[in-house]
C-alpha cells in the first residue's frame, strides 16, 4: 500500500464541517448481482442493480450517515468498501490506491484499517468461543500481538473501553444480553486499531434504553480513537444524531448528500422530504398538527428499475422529463448535493 496520500478536499461531494482529508473515495460504484435460471447450466437472465453508480467521499474523523429503505443499496455499498463483494465496476480509493484491484493478500493490510460492526450481535459472534477468544482471534490472525499474555491484556482493555467488566472475557455470547453482545462486537472491531469502521445497522436490533447507551459509546470511541464511521441505518433520528454528513439512497442511487443539520432542516430531494415526513415524532401534539403526506406505492424492483429518475413513479413533483433524463448529483448549495432536475 502506498503511503498516506493527503488528498485535499475536491470539489466533488465535499464537506463543509472542517474535515478535509479524504479517507475513502468511492467513485461511480456499481454492484450488479446476476439473476440466473436453470439448475444444471445456469444462465444469466437479468441483473439486480443493487448499487448503480454511487460516488461519495468519506473524510477522516467524520461520521457519514447512509439512510434509505430496504433494498436501496446501503448495505451493499458498505460490503463493497469492505471488499466482501467484488464490485461490478467503479473504484474505491483508500490511501491513494484503488482497493477493488487488490488481491486477497493485499487486502489483509486494508482489513486491519477497515472494520465492521453488524446489526445482529447474535449471529455475528461465534457461539462456541468465549468473548476473550473472540477478541483475541483477529490479533492472532493478523499477528499484531504475538504474545498470548499481552493479547489477553488487550482483550480485557478493549472490554473495559466498551463498558464491560474484564470478567466478561470468560463468558460465552449466549450468557450476555443483546446490548452487551453488541459491545463485544464493537470491541472486536477495535481490536485491530482501525481507522475506519462501517456500522451496518449497529444499533437497530437494540431496545430503546440500550440503544442510547451504545450510540453514546460509539461517539466516545470516535473521539478517543480518532475513528471515522460510515453509519448505515434506516433509523433517521439516530442517523441525524450521530452523523456529520448524511447520504440518502434510493434504489441503488445516491439522491441527496449534505451536512446533517442542513439535510434534516432543508431537505431538497422529494424522496428525502417524504422520508422525513414518514418518521413519527414522539409528541402527540406535534403529530396532530403534522400533515401526513405519504409516499404512494412501493419501491420498484432493482432488476428492472424505472427509466430516467428512479423515483419518478412515486414522486409528487415528477414531470415528463423525469421519465427520460437521469438526474445527476449536483451541488445546489455549498456542500449540499441533490440528484433531482426539479430542484
Amino acid at each position: 500500500m502506498s503511503d498516506a496520500v493527503n488528498q485535499k478536499r475536491s470539489s466533488r461531494t465535499g464537506s463543509s464541517e472542517g474535515f478535509d482529508e479524504v479517507l475513502v473515495d468511492v467513485r461511480d460504484l456499481k454492484m450488479y448481482f446476476p439473476v440466473t435460471e436453470g439448475v444444471f447450466i445456469p444462465r444469466v437472465v437479468a441483473h439486480v442493480k443493487a448499487v448503480d453508480g454511487v460516488s461519495f467521499q468519506v473524510f477522516r474523523g467524520e461520521t457519514l450517515g447512509v439512510v434509505g429503505e430496504s433494498g436501496c443499496g446501503k448495505t451493499t455499498t458498505g460490503r463493497c468498501i469492505l471488499q466482501l463483494e467484488k464490485p461490478t465496476s467503479g473504484e474505491i480509493i483508500f490511501y491513494g490506491d484503488d482497493i477493488t484491484k487488490y488481491d486477497s493478500k493485499q487486502m489483509i493490510d486494508v482489513r486491519k484499517k477497515i472494520q465492521v460492526i453488524f446489526q445482529d450481535p447474535y449471529s455475528s459472534l461465534n457461539p462456541r468461543m468465549k468473548v476473550g477468544e473472540i477478541l483475541m482471534e483477529p490479533m492472532k490472525v493478523h499477528n499484531i500481538i504475538p504474545d498470548e499474555v499481552e493479547r489477553q491484556k488487550r482483550a480485557k482493555y478493549l472490554l473495559n473501553v466498551c463498558g464491560l467488566a474484564s470478567a466478561f472475557a470468560d463468558r460465552y455470547p449466549h450468557e450476555m444480553s443483546g446490548g452487551q453482545r453488541q459491545r463485544v462486537g464493537i470491541a472486536r472491531a477495535l481490536a485491530m486499531d482501525p481507522e475506519f469502521i462501517i456500522c451496518d445497522e449497529a444499533v437497530s436490533a437494540l431496545d430503546v434504553s440500550i440503544q442510547a447507551q451504545v450510540i453514546n459509546l460509539l461517539e466516545d470511541l470516535r473521539d478517543e480513537f480518532d475513528l471515522t464511521y460510515l453509519f448505515i441505518s434506516h433509523d433517521l433520528s439516530v442517523v441525524r444524531h450521530i452523523s456529520h454528513r448524511v447520504a440518502v439512497m434510493y434504489l441503488g442511487n445516491l439522491v441527496e448528500l449534505a451536512d446533517g443539520d442542513e439535510l434534516f432542516e432543508n431537505p431538497m430531494h422529494p424522496y428525502t422530504n417524504l422520508l422525513l415526513n414518514a418518521v413519527p415524532i414522539p409528541d402527540p401534539d406535534i403529530e396532530k398538527t403534522r400533515a401526513h403526506e405519504i409516499i404512494k406505492g412501493e419501491i420498484p424492483s432493482p432488476i428492472n428499475p424505472p427509466p430516467g429518475c428512479v423515483f419518478h413513479p412515486r414522486c409528487p413533483m415528477a414531470v415528463d422529463n423525469c421519465k427520460k433524463e437521469i438526474p445527476q448529483l449536483r451541488e445546489v448549495k455549498p456542500g449540499h448535493w441533490v440528484a433531482c432536475s426539479e430542484v
Binding site: I210, E287, E298
Partner: protein, 332 residues
C-alpha cells in the same frame, strides 16, 4: 361497560431457570372504538399480555395463573377451548409483526381471506370471495381479483401486511390486537400501514390494542397509553399526559433517551443506565429501582401501587411528585 377489561392478570412461565413472572398483575381497559397503546421493551410483558387475552400462551411452560379478562360481557378465562376458538379471529382480530409467518405460504390469498368468513360467519364461498375482494380494496390493494389467486411470496412485505389487516377485519371484529404491526417494515411503508389502520379502525368503529416499542408510532396513533416494565404497567394515561407530564422515572428516561427529529441536536443522548432485570430474580421492591435516578430507600421495601393522579393518569412510583425538574428537560 368497557369492551375489554383486564384485571390483575398474571401469566407465568415455569422454566428450568425458575419461574418467570412475565405478566405480574396487569389491569387495563379498552373502550369501544378506542386505540390503546402498550409500550415497553423486550421482556416487559407486552406481547405476553396480548397472547393471554387470546389465550394463546403455550403450556408448558406458560400459564395464566390469576386474574380475569372480560371481553364484551364474557369472562375469556372461563370459556372452553371451543368457545374461545369462536371468538378468536371473529370478535378479536390479530395482526402480528412478521406477515410472512402469519400467512400460510402454500394457500392463495383468496383461500386465507375467505376461510375465517366461511368458518365463523357461515358464508358461502362465493359470498366470501365477494367480501374478500371488497376487503382487499379497503386495504388499498390494486387488482383484487388477481391478488386473490396469488400466494404470499408473490407480495412485498407491505402488501402482505395489508392482507393480514384484511384478514383481521374479515369477520367485523370488535377488537384488533396489533403486536408490533410495522416493526418489520420500512418507514414509508410503516406510515402507509399505520395510516390505513387508523382510518379503518375509526371508520368501522373497531377498538385496537397496538403493542410497540416505538414511541413515535404511539404518539401518532394512540388515544391512551400503557407503559410496561418488567411485567407490570408502571404508568398509564391519555397520550398527551404521558408525553408531556410523565410521572414515572422509566417513562421519563425512555422519552429522554430517544434522539428527536424535531429538536436541536444534542451533544449526547441521555440513556437509561444499566440492564433490564432478570424476571426470575425480582425482589419485593420496585423493579426499576436499580436503574432509577430518583430511587430512595423505601423503593426497596415494596412495589409501589398504580395510583390515580387525576384525569385517568396513573403512575406506580413513590417519588412520582418529585420528578418535576427532569420533566421540564423533556417537555422543554
Amino acid at each position: 361497560m368497557a369492551l375489554l377489561e383486564i384485571k390483575d392478570l398474571q401469566t407465568q412461565f415455569f422454566t428450568s431457570a425458575g419461574t418467570v413472572k412475565a405478566v405480574d398483575g396487569v389491569s387495563y381497559t379498552v373502550e369501544e372504538g378506542e386505540t390503546v397503546a402498550v409500550v415497553g421493551e423486550s421482556g416487559s410483558g407486552k406481547s405476553v399480555t396480548a397472547m393471554s387475552i387470546m389465550r394463546l400462551i403455550p403450556w408448558p411452560p406458560g400459564k395464566i395463573v390469576g386474574g380475569s379478562i372480560n371481553f364484551d360481557g364474557k369472562d375469556l378465562l372461563a370459556l372452553t377451548d371451543d368457545e374461545m376458538r369462536s371468538i378468536r379471529g371473529r370478535d378479536i382480530g390479530m395482526i402480528f409483526q412478521e406477515p410472512m409467518t402469519s400467512l400460510n405460504p402454500v394457500l392463495t390469498i383468496g383461500m386465507q381471506l375467505t376461510e375465517p368468513m366461511i368458518a365463523h360467519l357461515g358464508m358461502s364461498e362465493e359470498a366470501a370471495m365477494e367480501k374478500a375482494k371488497k376487503l382487499l380494496g379497503m386495504v388499498g390493494m390494486s387488482e383484487p381479483d388477481r391478488r386473490l389467486a396469488q400466494y404470499p411470496h408473490h407480495l412485498s412485505g407491505g402488501m402482505r401486511q395489508r392482507v393480514v389487516i384484511a384478514m383481521a377485519l374479515a369477520c367485523d371484529p370488535k377488537l384488533i390486537i396489533a403486536d408490533e404491526p410495522t416493526t418489520a417494515l420500512d418507514v414509508t411503508i410503516q406510515a402507509q400501514i399505520l395510516e390505513l389502520m387508523k382510518n379503518l379502525t375509526r371508520e368501522l368503529g373497531v377498538a385496537m390494542i397496538i403493542i410497540t416499542h416505538n414511541l413515535g408510532v404511539v404518539a401518532r396513533y394512540a388515544d391512551r397509553v400503557n407503559v410496561m416494565y418488567a411485567g407490570r404497567i408502571i404508568e398509564s394515561g391519555v397520550a398527551s399526559d404521558i408525553y408531556h407530564r410523565p410521572r414515572h422515572p422509566y417513562t421519563l428516561a425512555l422519552l429522554k433517551s430517544v434522539p428527536r427529529m424535531d429538536r436541536q441536536r444534542e451533544a449526547k443522548l441521555d440513556p437509561v443506565d444499566g440492564q433490564p432485570p432478570d424476571l426470575t430474580k425480582l425482589d419485593a421492591g420496585c423493579s426499576f429501582r436499580p436503574r432509577c435516578r430518583f430511587a430512595k430507600d423505601h423503593c426497596a421495601t415494596s412495589f409501589p401501587a398504580l395510583e390515580d393522579i387525576g384525569g385517568g393518569h396513573t403512575s406506580a412510583c413513590f417519588e412520582k411528585d418529585n420528578l418535576d425538574k427532569e420533566v421540564k428537560d423533556v417537555v422543554g
